[in-house]
């Protein structure tokens, strides 16, 4: 049985983000453990809330789904201005990489950014910042078969 599309989406997006100019190979999925300095700047990909609509009444029913894909960008810098600039640079590279194209066609009808949320923390030896860039990714499955797009 194929993995849920949510899993496939994370793998696809994380793979797409490997090798960006600023974050390089520091790409994680569902990261919750502490990041060492040697792994910064970094991005972590996770899937969030998902809306599901019934699109047909047949058996099985066709489901239209919109999953939120979170790309969390984490960086440290000397001060909050530099941290914001660095995170904005990473966001620039992430948004460019995740623009819809042949890479996304096999899984998504569409993928588009919907929100950006910044957080900064000046308590450590440097200013640490996290920018959460949330995308809406649309796909369809048959009811009972969430691992295969139709």
């Amino acid at each position: 049985m194929p993995a849920h599309i949510r899993t496939q989406a994370r793998v696809l997006v994380a793979g797409r983000l490997v090798g960006l100019a600023t974050t390089g190979d520091n790409v994680f999925q569902n990261r919750v453990t502490t990041l060492p300095k040697s792994k910064l700047p970094a991005v972590s990909v996770s899937t969030g809330d998902e809306d599901i609509q019934r699109l047909s009444q047949g058996v099985p029913r066709r489901l239209g789904r919109t999953v939120q894909i979170h790309v969390d960008m984490i960086a440290e810098a000397d001060d909050s201005d530099d941290a914001a600039d660095l995170l904005d640079q990473i966001a620039l590279e992430v948004e460019a990489a995740l623009a819809p194209g042949s890479w996304s066609d096999a899984l998504f009808f569409d993928i588009a950014p919907r929100a950006i949320n910044p957080v900064f923390d000046g308590e450590g030896r440097l200013v640490a910042g996290q920018l959460r860039l949330t995308f809406d990714a649309e796909y369809q499955t048959a009811e009972g078969s969430p691992g295969t797009v139709i």
Binding site: V32, T33, P36, D72, E76, D121, G124, R125, A128, G129
Partner: protein, 106 residues
């Protein structure tokens, strides 16, 4: 009278408890003090603890107030090849001053 009796205490503390690693104090105004007597600590601290945490630390140094009469946020400290800037200066009114530090990559 009491103030005079305890005037030397901050120096006693910083000399007795000071870091064995050399710390140079570079005030924005005034003379540089190489190998200043100060109490340096850098305890572990996770930054962005409510998000995806980042390993970090909380460097700070305590000096006798008399050692840094012109203290400012433009001062610099150098310890073990790393330059620090004060982001917060906390005089305690008992003759000691705590500098909360951030690393500087200049």
């Amino acid at each position: 009278m009491a103030g005079r009796a305890f005037a030397g205490m901050p120096r006693v503390f910083t000399r007795a408890l000071g870091d064995s690693v050399r710390i140079d104090y570079i005030p924005a105004t005034g003379d540089r003090v190489d190998n200043i007597d100060g109490i340096y600590t850098s305890a572990y601290q996770a930054a962005l603890a409510a998000q995806i945490p980042v390993e970090s630390s909380a460097p700070m140094i305590s000096l006798a107030a008399s050692e840094c009469p012109n203290r400012s946020h433009d001062d610099r400290f150098v310890r073990d090849g790393v330059t620090y800037k004060p982001v917060e200066i906390q005089p305690d009114s008992f003759g000691m001053v705590v500098f909360i530090l951030h690393e500087v990559s200049e």
